[in-house]
Amino acid sequence: MFMYLPIALTSVNYLVVTGLGLAVGLLSGLFGVGGGFLMTPLLMMIGIPPTIAAATDANQIVAASASGTLAHWRLGNVDYKMGLYLLIGGFVGGAAGVQVIKILRATGGADFLIKMTYVVMLGVVGSFMFVESLNAMRKSKANAGASEAAPAKKSGGLLSKLPMQTVFEKSGVTHSALLPLGLGTFVGVLAAIMGVGGGFLMVPVMIYLLRMPMHVVVGTSLFQIMFTCTEVTFLQAYSNRTVDFLLALLLLIGSVFGAQIGTILGRKLHGEQLKVLLSIIVLAVTVKIILELVMEPSLLLAYAGGH
């Protein structure tokens, strides 16, 4: 039942780890999030050092997102053009975010900024999605089916005056290419600061700012996350030696199956129901982080790394 991890230097119950992978993979397939914001704290809870938990999580997300991307590609749910713009922005933002963290670590303000970013971003995103989805569910009950026949949406106001207006056929929207590039950069900066893939930020950005349909959002987000986490895995393995491949293997055995099950489940749920569920999970994580911040920890010493 136990397996020793050569990089984490700890022994884990492999059934528990595979079960965690399955649960987070399920969320990945359902919502298009990598699950890093959930998996990293869960791994820390079973005794994995924080730096190794974060880096290894990126490795298993590569598998889960590849599995999920394939499933959504078959469903025709991946907007490659949008994904590519977001990805380019994400890479630029990620590199910038890493530099921001380096500067803040030198001045000693990094941990505070990371914690606050978590609380504010998760809290705002979770609350907004929760309220908005509930309202949408009420409206859809009132006039069922109206949204299916909606024409392609265009950016309004100042956004429509931006150059490089591009039609994203798969998503049925028209935006300036600068918009997904800029939003990708913004999410990339935040993701680097928070040490996560950024799926839980990217999904609301695609829904509310890029006005993409929910099912295309999930597939496109997974497509983008697959590349982001590939980069993160390689850099963490090469620069910091913090990727525990055995741990990633146990997680991905669960997560790739979970992602497939999640995709099938997702087809049975409506977009608004998915959003409500995701917002509840995001808000639960926010509450957990707030409690950790205000309650005295049982141990006042910790290893370096992590949040």
Partner: protein
């Protein structure tokens, strides 16, 4: 007749001499303190989850015993937590605990404080107070560290299963020429690969009167050693392999699900 008397007197004198010599010697020679550990080499393989160590040996009759298992001493670097802005608990800075072992386990036949006097405990680093006396603490910002942080350090190490003190756990069997002892130790998987020393102390009248030791080696083996070697010696290859295997696994499972009838 005279000759016979002389020989009887000589024999008596010889017997008396032998009696005094034998009387001057102890009734039975005290048994030397010994120490054996089994296994003395612990391989960390794929399904490793710690090990069971057995420490055995002989000791003088009635001597109390202590068994200390520890790594070499060094500096331990940790982050300390505090309240930022008087509101939020978070990591505030770095703290260094100097001249402490990474792993420290102590077992005894009875109460350590009553068995060994304070000087003996400090000199042989027996117990947490002795560890405290031999170490220093520093904060990287130069602020003086309060004594309570050593208690926090002990709490942290105990939670990691790397520090442990258990009294009355050494089992002894009394023999004619001395005692035999046995100690069973649950070796924690958290103890990293390193060389450790098992030391046995024989205690009489509050003083350490004898000691013996044996080494233990904990090292990675098999797949664990190969993966660790690849990660640290060829990190680029390791990183590429980690990504490729993850992608292949993801796509393969995706393909399996399609074969299972999930046509879209």
């Amino acid at each position: 007749m005279l000759r016979n008397k002389v020989s009887v007197n000589g024999l008596l004198a010889l017997l008396a001499g032998l009696f005094f010599i034998v009387a001057a010697l102890p009734a039975t020679p005290a048994q030397a303190l010994t120490c054996q550990v089994s296994p003395d080499d612990i391989p960390i393989n794929l399904f490793y989850n710690g090990a069971t160590l057995t420490v055995t040996g002989t000791s003088g009759p009635g001597d109390d015993l202590l068994v200390k298992i520890s790594s070499t001493t060094g500096d331990v670097h940790l982050k300390y937590k505090g309240k930022a802005s008087g509101l939020f608990w978070m990591k505030m800075g770095n703290m260094e605990f100097k001249n402490v072992p990474n792993v420290y386990m102590l077992y005894s036949t009875g109460s350590i404080e009553t068995m060994v006097d304070a000087a003996g405990r400090t000199a042989n680093v027996l117990g947490y107070d002795a560890l405290r006396a031999g170490s220093t603490m520093e904060r990287t910002d130069g602020v003086e560290v309060e004594a309570k942080w050593f208690d926090e350090y002990l709490k942290f190490k105990k939670a990691e299963n790397l520090y442990n003190v258990q009294e009355g756990t050494i089992v002894r069997r009394h023999g004619e020429t001395g005692d035999e002892y046995t100690l069973t130790v649950a070796w924690p998987f958290q103890a990293p690969p390193a060389n450790y020393t098992v030391e046995v102390f024989a205690v009489r009248d509050g003083q350490v009167v004898d000691r013996a030791s044996a080494p233990i080696t904990v090292e990675q083996a098999g797949v664990v050693k190969q993966l660790s070697g690849l990660a640290f010696n060829n990190p680029a290859v390791y990183g590429v392999l980690a990504v490729i295997i993850a992608m292949v696994a993801g796509f393969a499972v995706g393909a399996i699900f399609k074969k299972g009838g999930g046509s879209h």
